[in-house]
């Protein structure tokens, strides 16, 4: 019904020229608000329905990650995007773990890409706004598996000592992990980004595309900012933890990841909030899809 209402978006940046430029670029299709400072932004979020929040990272007094984390509490329906020219590791990890952001966009941006990203985020926000009631779809398996895809045993061992023990499946290769995914419901994938010396982050993105309610926790010593940005935009990784990682922090992250998975199951409308940029690597997509089909199929007639 409210087709004519423009979505509302809020830009936060301490450089007014950035704001001026962005307002001009978006005001034709959106109601555009802007704030030069974090507290002001949070106040706006508390008082208005805002569909998309786009924040800079490095600002005086309140960093972008802090603004995004605040926004998550004050206005969870608002989609969160970081727009920054400074890619420091702490900022990126914070934007994943605390900000739970939808996209990480680097300055200088391409206007067309930013338009697409914001349009997508706005569409998601508006659809989830009209869809806030929990709708249980199908049966939610309360004990969906947790795959630990890792060569070294520590992470699995921590879980084996916890009440989650019976849900843990260990895998040493991506194929083994996919075999598990094909044979039983999987809630959570815990993995490094480099497996046997190979970078598996593109595969994580494709897996997320294949099973949107799959929640991923990455535990890694690898500290490449470019990689982490791709993990946000292309794989919507839920948490990134340093390796070696503290037992408590790890368990806490696993718990909240499982809760997140349940939420995605209960409210499928939420899935769109974590949709990923489509992988451009067609061959990888089809390879993974084929593999999943192949392992799924032979099981079908037996149980069927």
């Amino acid at each position: 019904m409210n087709t004519i209402t423009k979505p509302t978006i809020l830009f936060v940046d301490d450089e007014e020229r950035i704001l001026r430029s962005l307002v001009m670029a978006f005001r034709a299709h959106y109601r555009v608000l802007s704030a030069t400072e974090g507290h002001q932004a949070l106040e706006m979020l508390a008082n208005e329905d805002i569909d998309v929040l786009i924040s800079d990272q490095r600002m005086p007094r309140m960093s972008g990650v802090e603004v995004l984390r605040g926004a998550r509490d004050i206005s969870p329906a608002t989609m969160r995007i970081l727009l920054t020219g400074y890619s420091d590791l702490a900022g990126i990890v914070g934007s994943i773990n605390d900000g739970e952001i939808f996209r990480y966009v680097q300055k200088p941006w391409r206007l067309e890409e930013l338009r697409d990203t914001i349009a997508e985020a706005a569409a998601v926000a508006q659809s989830s706004r009209s869809n806030t009631v929990a709708t249980a779809v199908g049966v939610i398996p309360a004990h969906a598996a947790i795959i630990v895809l890792d060569r070294s045993p520590e992470l699995a061992m921590v879980l084996k000592d916890s009440p989650l023990a019976s849900r843990v499946r260990r895998a040493h290769t991506l194929e083994q992990a996919m075999t598990v995914m094909a044979s039983e419901p999987v809630a959570l994938l815990i993995t490094d980004i480099s497996l046997n010396g190979e970078d598996i982050s593109p595969s994580l993105g494709v897996l997320k595309q294949q099973q949107p309610d799959l929640v991923t926790v990455v535990v890694t010593a690898f500290q490449d900012t470019g990689h982490l940005i791709r993990l946000i935009n292309q794989a919507q990784v839920y948490r990134v933890l340093p390796r070696p990682t503290g037992r408590n922090m790890f368990l806490r992250s696993v718990e909240s990841a499982l809760k997140h998975h349940d939420l995605l199951k209960k409210r499928p409308a939420m899935l769109r909030r974590h949709s990923v940029e489509k992988s451009r690597d067609e061959s990888l997509v089809s390879r993974i899809r084929n593999y999943l089909d192949r392992v799924r199929d032979p099981a079908a007639p037996v149980q069927g």
């Binding site: 020229r17 430029s21 001009m24 490095r58 007094r61």
Partner: protein, 449 residues
Amino acid sequence: MESGCRAPSEAFPMSHLPLARLTIPVHPLTPSIPVSTVADLFLSDRCRDLLCLPIVRDGHLVGTISRYTIMRIFLQHFGRELYGQKPVERFMNKSPIQIEQSMDVEEASLLVRSTLTLPITEDFAITEKGRYVGMGVVLSLLEVMEHKIAHRSEALARANHQLKSSQAQLVQSEKMASLGQMVAGVAHEINTPLGYVRNNLELALDFMERTRGVIDSTDHLIETLLNPASPESQTHLALESAATEISSHQQDAVLDDMRTLFDDSLHGLQQITDLVADLRNFSRVDKSRMESANLNDCIESALNIGRNVIKHKADVEKYLADIPFVECSASQINQVLLNILTNAAQAIKGHGLISIYSGVEDDQVLIRICDNGCGMPETVKNRIFDPFFTTKPVGEGTGLGLAISFQIIEQHGGRIEVLSRENEGTEFRIYMPLRKAEELDTSQRQATA
């Protein structure tokens, strides 16, 4: 009676001890053996290398007889005739040098050296738990020692070299780390103006395309109007389409904003230009030479480069007086100021204030950089200029910032002072001399050294 120099070596198993390796298993003499027999032995090939022979009773060394003593006896008139048949016991050295085989080479050589007389006339006897096992040659012992020392000093030289190069690496990695930080910071500073300049250009391009739409539709309208043959419906259509084009164009109101858009972009480009210039100022390679510089400019330049680290930690207040130029290497002074400003920002928990003053005091320029950060206790304050002293976590601080700064200011003939109070703040004072041109020569040589 088998009395001679070298016994078969199996009888004296070699041990791993260094002195055992030096032990020559010389068959000992009995105290009663005649002097002339000893003289013959010394002449034999087997004892050629030995300066003296051991004399043993019941396994215990009782003395040694040296080649030198025998020589002295035989050199006397009728020496051989008078003493040749006397027992060697009468002429032996009753307190020879005895060394336990388990002793280490250094200790042994110390002992030997302390009893040594010139010319060297005696070797030393080697015992094991007090019992005689063989002889040792002083020269071989000293040779072993010499080797050892040479080896050690080589190892020392190597260690020294390694230390130096690892120190250099550390300095290098510190430079790289702060360079990395600086580059990341500057990248942000450049990406911000780049962000809006690019966006503005894309908007301008959009606008141009749409302006072309307006022009095309008005062109078409005019054509239709001027053509007497065009039917009224067509004229109407052209009029309508031109009107929509124009109105949508105006609705965006971009034309009014165009001015701002371009002004902003020019401003952004200027900012990028300044940053690139500042960066060049910072690279020491390009100038560590002395020049006439205004320290106020150095302050601005350091603030620009450090803005990223500083701005989210503190507000900056500047009280810069009109100060005369100072002869200095501006890039090095920039480095010092950046180090101090970075420290100030890092000392602040939450959001604080950094105040910078400049002025003249006597014949010096004084710069004061004050922060209201955590301050430091006396014990820390006394050490902050030490290389590698840091209170920051591993990986965050190398503790070289102030050490390098101190050195730079010293080379300029200036000095740095610190005032600090815990939990209240810290003030760094940099004094730079106002020097005359003729003094420049020497300082230049120092600073570039």
